[in-house]
Amino acid sequence: MKKLLNAFLFLTLASGGAVSAQRQQPLKIEADVLDFYVAEFHSVVKTNPDQFKKVRSVIKDYIENRFEISARRLEMMQQLRVLVQRPTSTDEEILRATSEFDKADADMQTNQVRFLNTVGPLLNPRQQARVRIFQQMADRRLLQMINSARNPEAQK
């Protein structure tokens, strides 16, 4: 009985650790995604070399934060699903997980605002307007590519 319990605990910890490692490990395509956003920004906002040099690091922080926040958000969503389905979950656990999920959402907004507030002073008003267009266009293009990657047969 004791062995069985130990085996169960081992398996649980091992699987949890694997998931956690998977989340914390940066994706292989993170660099590709960053390059994609940088190229899109330059293409849409039409920055000069001096502006581009300053803006690139801001975009890098912005994209890295989006990866980190999304990972956290997904993890919290997974926890919420488990807690909701498990009958023995306490209200305290559920409230804590809900609060963490909401914090991830709020962090996403904060990251967005910080990015806009940082690049804004570096750009003229027309370029600032183009930043908004860039965000929507880049996200849409990336989403299209994600869908294509998920279902490559549909693209043939």
Partner: protein, 175 residues
Amino acid sequence: MFGHLKSEDFVNLIESSEAPAKWRRHIDSCHRCRATWETLSAVHVEITSVGEDIPEPDWAAFRSSVRDKLFARSVQREASMRRWTGWLMRPSAVSTLSLMLAVGIPTGAFLWHLQKDHNTLSIGLETPKPASPAELLEAGTDKTVFDDLMELSEREQEQLHRLLQSAQKGSSHLQ
């Protein structure tokens, strides 16, 4: 001694059968009065015959036709009124009209208010309020894109890597 007959005497002679005998005798003896009498008698006969040719109106038919025409006009007016107002009196039409008024008036007032505000803004009386960062987020980014990105399998990441590389080749190299 009396003179020639006067005009009113001739009229009295025509209209009354019982004329004084002295007038008859005078007409017989006086050439001038007899000529006048004969002329007037001829005219009187002619007028009398014309009067006999005019048929007496059929008062009953006249009354009936007048009644019919009045009735027809009343029906026509009623039909005309019903054409304009009759449908308004139907229950479904009344409820529809009430609904239209209930929705239309507030909507119209609201649109008018918006138009008024727009006009006010367009002439520069008020400065437009900048969008809040939360609104910008909703308008600009899709927060699920990176969620989808995080959930890609190894094989899908490879596929996306190739797609991103080909997209990069399509645009200018910046680094």
